[in-house]
Structures are given as C-alpha cells and as structure tokens.
Point group: D3
Chain length 263, copies 6
C-alpha cells in the first residue's frame, strides 16, 4: 500500500472536497490518498507575497508527511509552489502538478500549452515551461482570467469557459492538447464531466490526475529502494554546521508561526 498526501497549498478548507471527489476514482489499487490543506498561511496564492508565506507553511506539512509515513506528497497548485525547496528537506518524492503535466504531456499529443487562471500567472508559467517543458513542445501560455477564490462559487461558468477557451487557445497556438493550468479549474472541469458535461474539443490534461500517477510511480520506487534524489548539487542537504542551523531555524519558525486563525 502506498500513502499519498495531496496538499492543497491554501490556508483554506474550501478546495479539499472537490479534489477528493474528482481524484479519488483514479487512484490505483493500493493507493491511499488523503487531501489536506495548510494552516498558518493566507487562504489564496495568486500573488507572490502570499505564495511565499504559503510555501513556508508548506515545508512544515511536507516534513510532517514524511515523518508520519507518507510515501509521496503532491503540492496541489499549478505554481508548483515550494516543490523544489521541499525536495531539499525530505527523502520522499515531492510532486508538482505542473511539472508532472509537462513530463507526461507527450503521451497525449505532440504538443501542448497551458491554459491558466489569471494573466498574472502567464509569465511565471512561461518561465516554468522553458525550464521544465519537454523539448520545445509547449506552445505557449494563455489565461482564462478568473481568480481561484471566485471560481469555486460559479463552477458552471468556469466549466463553460474551459470548454470554449481551451479549443480557441489551442487553435491559436497550434497545440494538440491543453494542460489545465490551475488545479481548481481542473477539478471543476472534471466534476462537470462526471456530471455528464460535454468534453472540450481538444484533449485537456488534468494536472491533478497526472500528479497522482507520478506520485504513485515514485512512491512505488521509493518503497522498493529505487528512488533516490541526487544530493551532490541542487538538492544537497544541509550537513554538519548547516544541519544544526537548519534545525534551529525550523524550531524557531514553529515557535513563532503566524496565526491566521484569528480575525
């Protein structure tokens, strides 16, 4: 059995249910997936200051996941927030849905693109595509122009926009598939399909789903001793003096962590 923690990196319970609802069906035999969210951080991640504060809370949750026996974690936001830093901290696989989507996209079509929520995210994703896209096959990034906090309240409108805008964007950019560039939009669209909605004309890749599959694969390898992260460069872990310093920093942060529960 493999245990996977799908962490919604938002200081809000609002998105947990829809993720569980739309993803649970696709778990492989032997997968136990829990969907959690964060405390001690803002409810939304759209702006970078919030993203940064959320990531600090996320690192704790990732480390706790390893300590409590999870075999892999998924960070459930298309910014892949904190994914690479978190890998410095734990030995279990840490999966970002954007990276997983870029990695698996070529199995679904020759080329792809990202249709994200808001246009502030477009340049960020463009950089990610350059650093992590496969070959030159990510044809571009477009935005549907919704913020996450609004879309959860008007799911029908979001699904309708996905259906219409994904085909238009794919045609404009010459992409054969579309990565749904927001985990919540992806879940809303998946729910729409589960309720019998008509699919978009272009194949839409659900990043939650691809992250789940990548997490299962790496969790298996991890359990069988075949997953090790290179620790000689980018993912070098603090050692000696630096390890002590890291532990102190973690302790201090936990002692003083921001309290978002109060008004």
């Amino acid at each position: 059995m493999r245990r996977i923690n799908f962490i919604n990196p938002f200081g809000s319970v609002a998105y947990d249910e829809i993720i569980q609802k739309t993803l649970g069906h696709y778990c492989a035999d032997g997968t136990e997936m829990v969907v959690t969210h964060l405390e001690n951080c803002p409810p939304d991640i759209d702006f970078f200051y919030n993203k940064h504060m959320i990531e600090q809370a996320l690192y704790e949750e990732v480390m706790r996941s390893e300590e409590t026996g999870f075999d892999a974690v998924i960070v459930g936001c298309l910014y892949d927030p904190g994914v690479r830093v978190a890998r410095e901290l734990v030995d279990i696989p840490v999966i970002g849905p954007l990276e997983a989507s870029f990695q698996m996209a070529a199995n679904f079509g020759y080329s792809t693109m990202v249709l994200t929520d808001h246009r502030k995210a477009v340049p960020y994703l463009y950089d990610e595509a350059r650093l992590r896209g496969q070959g030159n096959t990510v044809k571009g990034i477009e935005a549907i122009d919704w913020f996450v906090k609004d879309m959860i309240h008007d799911r029908a409108a979001v699904a309708r926009d996905v259906v219409n805008l994904s085909a238009t964007a794919a045609r404009k950019l010459g992409a054969e598939t579309v990565i749904m560039g927001c985990t919540i939009i992806a879940a809303i669209y998946q729910e729409y399909l589960m309720e019998g909605g008509k699919p978009a004309e272009v194949p839409i890749l659900n990043p939650n789903l691809l992250a789940l599959k990548m997490a299962e694969s790496l969790a298996d390898l991890h359990q069988k001793g075949a997953y090790t992260l290179a620790r000689t460069g980018f993912y070098m872990k603090p050692y000696g003096h630096f390890e002590a310093e890291f532990k102190r920093a973690r302790r201090i942060w936990n002692a003083s962590k921001p309290d978002f529960s109060s008004q």
Copy 2:
C-alpha cells in the same frame, strides 16, 4: 489488473530473460508484465537499416498487443524505435524508455545525461534530447563503446564499465544523474546490483524501470477512460480511403513478411 507487453525489439530471444529477471520485482500490485521479442527481423538494432526493418515487425507486434488485450506496451530499446509511428496505429499507450527517462529524470536530480552503448548512437540521442529532453537539463550524451550483442556475454565487464564511466561522464558534463542509455546495459547493471554489486557514485536511472512505471500509470488512465491521444495532428489516424489503404498495406506485409528463421 493491468497487462503490459515489454517488447524487446530484437529478432532474438537472447535478452528476454534478463529483462524479466531485473524488472519483475518492481511491478506494482495488479501489474502483469510479459517480456516478448520479435520475429521476422534482424537480431540487432545498432545500425539504422536494421532498426528500420525491426520497426516494421514491431508495428505488427504492437497492433497484436492491442488486439489481444494488453493495456500498454513498452518498446524496450533506448532508440525508442517505432514509438511515435506505433502511436498512429493503436489506442493503447506506447512507451519508449528513452522518452520515459527524459520525462521522469527531474524527479531524481536537477540535471541528467545519457550514457549509451556505442558512439554511433550518440548523435541520434542528442537529437532526441533536443526534441524530448526537459528544458536544457540534459547535459550531453556519452558512449561506453560496447555493442549490445557483445555485452550480453561479458556482463561483469559491462557492469564494471558502467560503474567507472558513469561517474567520470557525469563529472565531465556536470550532470547530477545518468540515464543508462541502453536497455540491456541497464538490465546488466541492475542484475549486478541484485547480486550485491557496489552502486556507481552517481544515481543511475534504469530506463526499463521508468518505462514500466509510465506504462502502469497510462494503462490505469486508459482503463478508466482518461487516456486519449490527440488525433488532430501528428497522431492523426488513417481514415476513409487512407484507412482502406493502410489495411491493405498491412495485409500485404503480413502475407510476404521476411523470414529470418531460416539460414
């Protein structure tokens, strides 16, 4: 249960056993993997004329795999021979170990490289890295300078070369991990590890293993209706007149297929 056909794209039984031996342990619960090889084609794939003739035989085997109920196929050679053409022909996932390795490599380290068998393969893999590698993180291609047909008979020497040359090559190119650029070398090295051999200094990615995990993931999605290949461009299927023509061509090939059993 998912059924996966690992096809050794060689007209030879010589490599089936070692693949089964070194890969079976890593199958997930619910995976039934069979290891097969081809008929009606040359025994080796090192030169491009042979590779082409092998691919023609491979297409038949891939189509037969779909017809007999496999959920995914793996084409077991680092040239990923015929992988993209085969996707034109069937609706089940077709996995190439090189592509799967490029896709999953970032989970094992910031950057990677390929250490292949013979130097004839180096430029071919360099092109593949450009078309399918992630970002700019494939640092280069080096060769260990063995041909497949020789290495199967001197496995200890091959494993020794892998251990020594992978660390040297990674240092030279500044790569954090090494993709073992030949499915047979990878299997030999895996066998060496299983027999207690000391691992190389640098993390070595076994492409067979990564192909297996990618195949399991996509087989699951396929079984649950979440795997569809875009058919509007590169992977468009023959239709109308072209479908009839394709069926005739296949029939003719099968009627006259080269007989490699004699001599």
Copy 3:
C-alpha cells in the same frame, strides 16, 4: 556528365511526368536526370505507417542507384523520407528536398517558412525545422490542407490556393519567403507558372529545384573525389559481423518483398 535519380517515393507512376516536365528545364549542362518511382510499397505517404513501408522499398532503390552508376539521388518528398538512413547505405550523395530547401533558403530572403499539404505534416516539419533549419529563421509551418492523391486531379485549385495562402501565411508568420512544403504542390505550381499563371506575392521556393541544384553540386564533388561522408558517428556503416548481418537482412527482404501489384 552527372547522372541523377529523382525518386518519387510513392508506389505510383502518377507523379513522374509532372516532375520531369517542371524540373527538366533547370538541369545544368551535363546533367542527366531520370525520374523514377517505387514498387513494393503503398501509393501514398501521408500516414507514417505507409511512410515507413515506403522507406524500406526506397533503400533498395537508392542502393540500386549507386550500383547502376548514378552520381546522386534525390528522394522526392518533403518528409525527406529515409534520407538519413539511406546515407548509411551508399557513398553517393542522397538529397532530401526539405533539407536542401532549409539549406539554400537564406539565399532567397532573410527568413522562411514551410507551407505544407496537410496538417498532419505540420508537427513533423516543425521538428525538422528545429533539427535542420538555419539559425532561427524558419518562422513556422502552415498547411494548405490537401492530400497529395487529391491534388493531382485538381491542379488549378491547388495553384490558386498556393497563390492565395502563401502570401497570407508569410504575412502571419513574418516570413520573407515560403518553402512549398510538398514536392507535388511545388510541381503543380511550377506548371501553373510555365503556363503563364501569375506568381504569388511572396517568393516561393521550389524544393525540387533546390534539391536538383544540391544534387548537381554534390555529384560534381563526388566525381572529383571531394565528397566523403563522415563514417565515425551517425553515418557509421555496418562493418565486420554487422556487415554480414546487413547483407543477410537485405537479401531476405528482397526475397520476400511485399507485392503491391496484385489487387
């Protein structure tokens, strides 16, 4: 005198005449060009399975061309089918019209693009542009959306589409010239010009013509001992054991080659 074999890589006589008619005029003094086609393969190349089967037949024709004293061969399709594999097999120059067009395009304008027949070919040509285009000056690929087998029967419509769509596409992509991305469209357009048709607004590069000139150049160098292909890497020839194996494979294929003449 230099002898050049322009091979139409189709199992059909349908295209030979128009190539001869539209290309003969441009042969240099001392060039003898014959236009041939293939047997033992499908009539069309649009889908990749057919392309593969055609290439197998093509290799025979290329090898026979060398054996019968040709100084160069041209493979007359914009996929450049089998060009690189064929170079493994013979010592005479093997020319692909797409590669020749990419190579000579900068002499006709700062930048170029490809206007191909059908949209299935677009991603294939995009990869070719990346691997073989000059600098970053291939601005993109567009399709005119005809299949080869249809266009030969409605040449006026094809020529009209070329005139209209090439200017539109060049403007859209910011390209100064257009490579006509199909040898048959190119021939139809050339015939249209020979019959007094009004040229497109943008300079159109005829890949047949550029392939012919490249073939003449390399044939000359070959005759004077100044053409040798590097055999140490990508184009290494089978040797020793592998040469014997290659000869056997060729013999077996010839003994059993598919018979497309029958119904």
Copy 4:
C-alpha cells in the same frame, strides 16, 4: 541626492563592514548608500530553506526602505534572493547583483561566466543564466567551493583562489570575463586589490559594483518620474480584496515574526 539601501540578506552583521569598505569609493556624486542586514532570519543563505526564510524577512526590509524614503534597494547576494517578489511589493527599484551583472556584462567583454562559491549554487545559477543571461553569451557556471561563513575568516586564501581559479575557469569555458558569483567573495577580492594584490588575468566583474551603478541609474529615473514597473502581468500588485488580504498577512507576519536573537 539619491539614497540606496544595500541589504545584506543574512541575519548577521558579519558582512556589512567589508561591503561598505569596498563599495563606498565607487558611489557617484550625490549617492548616499547605507549597508544593512536582516533580523528575524538565519545567518546564512546557502541552503534553500534558509534562503526562503531570509526572503520573508527581506520583504519587510524592502518595504520599510520604501516607507523611509530610499530611492532604490540592492539585495546583496548572488542568488538575487526575493528580488522578483519584492518588486511586487514596492514602487522603488529593487536590484539583484546577479541580474545587474548579466545585464552589464557585455560592456566588459563579448562573453562571460559565473564563478560562484559552492557547487550547490551551480544549477541554480545555470537556470538564472538561461532566464536572465544575454543571448547565449553566458558560457557556464563554475564553483570555487567555499561556503560564505568560512571564507570571511580566511580572506587571503579566498583571494588567492579567485586569482587562480578565475583564469582557469574562463579558459575552460571560453569566457572573456568572469562574474564573481558571490557578493562576499567579490568584496574580499576587491579588498585584496585595494591592498595592492595582483589582479587576476581575466577581467573580473564585481556584482556589488554593477548593482550599485544600476541602482543609481534607476534611482535617478525614479526620482524624475521615468521609472515605472509594468503592473499588468508578472508584477501585478494585489488590489481590492487581495490588497486587504496582503495587508492582513503582512500584519500577522510582523506580529509573530521568528525571533533569531535568542539562543
């Protein structure tokens, strides 16, 4: 008069003096530069967890700089920590020495490279070079293999290593200049030069100095109303609901900020 805050993004006073000493001489007429450091964060930045925690403290310092009338800030570490997020928060220019060095390097030679402190930083800087380097003229990244906390205590050895390794690395990579890839190494080398040390054979770019000049330029433009950051995409500021949320998050962080002064 322009006021510039050079922030050492370390929770330590150890580096302030050497920066002031080696940079003050180069201030233009009318520049008042203060060198500060951070509280509420770890003393070193080498590992990414620390870097993240430092950045959170840095944002406060950057916002305070704007509130107290600075015309520009420099974030004094070659990771350019927090530079892009900080630009979301303030309207004064925020300068990163790595980005400034990439931007100005072409004035010092055709090509450049980065010689950084420790090899963990190499892949990080490689990504930065791709995202922010000019053309293809950043030839690579090498490490001198010192951690910042050690080098401050053995300055002579550091300067000696700079002199020797920069020439070797530039020759190896074919770079005409070397960006000193650590603000503290750069300061130590500058101090060595001020004390009469013999310069390295290859021109070494001091990122502190280039950041200072860039800060002066942008501070001038800011004072004269000619500096505005595009707020429509990447640097969009929180507005409406998001602005309120941002202010609350900042308030909460300040109320609970980690206390690094205690044991």
Copy 5:
C-alpha cells in the same frame, strides 16, 4: 564630472535639437552631455549601404571623442551602428541604445518587445534580440512603418501612432513593455509627453534615456579605474604590425574622406 558625447550617427543636423531637448533633463548631477552629429557621410541610415558609410565616419568621431577627453560615447541610433567595432578602437565605453535597452528592460517589466520605425529594420532587430536580448524575454519586433526623415516633419502623427500601435503590438506579442525602436521616434514621443500628451497604455522604454544612464554608470567606473574591456578575444586591439597598419589606414581615410557638403 563626467563628459558624454551623444553622437547622432547621421550626416545631418536635423535631429540634434530634439535629442538635447528631451534628454538633458535626465542627466545626473555631474553629467555634461553634448549632442553631436557626423560629417562625411549620408544624412539617413535606413539602408545598409548608408549605414556602412556612416559607420566609417562614426569611428573617427568616436576616436576623436576619446582623444578630446570624453568619458563615454553614445551612438544614437537603434541599429547600434558601429558600436562593437568602435569598442575595438577606444578604451572609453561605447554605448548603443538598443543594447542598453535590452540590458535594462527587465527592470521595467517581465518581458519586452521592440517597436521600430520601418519594416526593413525588423529582421535586423530580430537578430540583435537573439544575440543581445536578456533570456528569452524579447517577445518580438514590430514596425510602425515610418522612415526617420519623414517623421521629423510630422511629429504629432508619429506620437499618435506610438500611442496607438504600442498598446496593440504589446497585446499581440504578449509583451509587458515596449522598447521604442528608433531614437528619433523615442525623442518625438518624449517631447509629446513633455507637452502634456497622454502616455501610451503600455510602459514605453526610451532608449536614449537608458543609453544615457548606462553611459553615466560606465563613465564613472572608467574614471575610477573599474572599467576595462576584455582584449583577449572579440575586442582584441591591433598590435605590432597590425597597429601600424591600422594607423596607416586611418590616416589614408582621413586624407581622402568623402565630402558630403558639396552638392
């Protein structure tokens, strides 16, 4: 005090006044900027033959600038005419406004583009963007389709076109800022702003201004001994025999220089 020569690389006095008028306000304390133009060359630079002849005259002016004590020169045209050759000739900084704009653009927004005067310049600037743009953030080049000699006589129309076309072009290309791709258009637009004109919707970068700031920075470094150009490669100076030859060539050119004053 730093002395800067802003050279209008045109054989015409027509543009000096507007540059002085629109740039003087932005000089830092201690900057003395003079605006000059060339003799012995054509009045316009739009076509490459003229550009070449202008560059020959420019080299003299750059060398004279160094000889008469200027601390930096700016070559005031977006072709950056002669900038790199001029660096071979003198030890003071030579600034091109296009390069300076590419270098400083990231301080004004995530991405940029160039809006130039005439479409002949578009491919030239596209090459420059590839060789000298930062990262991949120059999104493209568009033309406003005016020639310099015409625009000076209809400034209102030029300013109106800038306001309208810059927003359109930025939207089309997905650029967050626009580099005004002609020093004279930039000056006309600046004058329009100074006379109370409403700014364009997208931030427009004035290359004259960015060149001025870069010149001031490098002039300061030059005065304090911290500016040296690498002389081991691209910018190697003629020495020994070659120095004598260079001096003779310069002498001969000065003795026979073209006389453009006559009819």
Copy 6:
C-alpha cells in the same frame, strides 16, 4: 556558361594565385571563374576596423561585377565580409563561404565545427553559427592561432597544424566534420593535398569549394529566371528618394576613395 567572380577581400594580390590553383580543378563544365582582389583598402582583414574599410571597397567590386555581367560573386573570406549588405545592392547571388559551409555541412556528416585562424575570430564565428548554423549541429569554434599574413609564408607549418589540430578539436567538441575557418588556410591545406599530403583524420570542409558550388547553383537559377531575393524586408532596396541618395553616396565615395597604392 556561368561567370563567377571570386573576390579576395584583401587589398593585396598575395592570395589570388593559390585560390586559382586550388579551386580551378573543381569548376563544373560551363563555369568561368576569375579570382580578383580589391584596391582602395587595407591588405589584411583580421581586425574589425580594417574589415569595415575593406567592405566599403568590396561593395564597389560587387556592383561592378553585376554591371560587367558576372552571374554570381563569392566573397573569399570566412568572415563573410559585407555579404548581407552587398545583397541589398545587386540582383546577382552573393555567396559567403562561411554561410555556404554551414548550409552544405550536413551533407558531409551529422555535425560540424569551425577551426579558424586566430582567436579574435572565435566569438565572431560563434555568433554567425547561431544566426546561420543548421539546427544545433555546429558544435563549437576553435582557433589554430595564425594570422593570415604570416601563414602564406610558411605553408608547410600551416598544413601540419591543420592535420593535427583538426582531429584534436573535432574530438574535443564531438564534431564529425571540420569547416576550415579561413579561406587561405583552406587553400593551403588543399594545395598540400594536391602535392600528395596525407589527409587529416576528420573530414575537412573547404569553404572555397562549397562557395563555388553554391555560386554555380544560384548562377544557374539566376540565368534561368529562378533566382530572386525577397525585397520586402531585410534586403529591401533603396527606392524613390533613398535611391537618389544612395547613388549620390556611391558617387561621392568613388570620387574620394582612399588611395592605398601610395606609401
């Protein structure tokens, strides 16, 4: 018959004979090639100031070539000096040996590199490779470290260096062929071969030869009305007012052209 002017872009007769001697043998039937050099310019082109002055003289020679009935010109130096500007001026093909070598290299091997004369040329050629090289297959640039004026007097040493250094450089860079990066070195090496010298281990591409073949091809097309340069962008010709201005500039230059014959 096609007439080709091979222009040695040096103000010296020193190189004409060796070019004629080593190239004449390869002319196709019907080719009349003359080898000329320039007046009114320096004897050497190694430094950029000289190169610029030489180019001005070259434009005259190119225009005169068209006026006197040549069908194509070759500019015989690996800098391809003035090639692109010259295309603005005439309607006959203008061939640069570097560009022709990049264009034809893939016919001789998978990848290539340039081995040039002096290291000052290395970065210049690196830029050219990026702008004009095919795909990513130009593996790098190395220098043999001779200046042209010296090598003509010690041909044996030059040939020996070519033989030794080309193999070393190709191995280091992983290139399958070597473009001899100097027309004079290429001629010296060709002469050495003609005198029975043992070839280098790696195929060496003679740029003179490839330029000749490209010139013949384009001259043929030009004669038959199939060569036209796109005049809508980069190669737009001066028209209207600009044409008059161009003619005046040319007239003035001719009236005052530098006199290099005198002491």
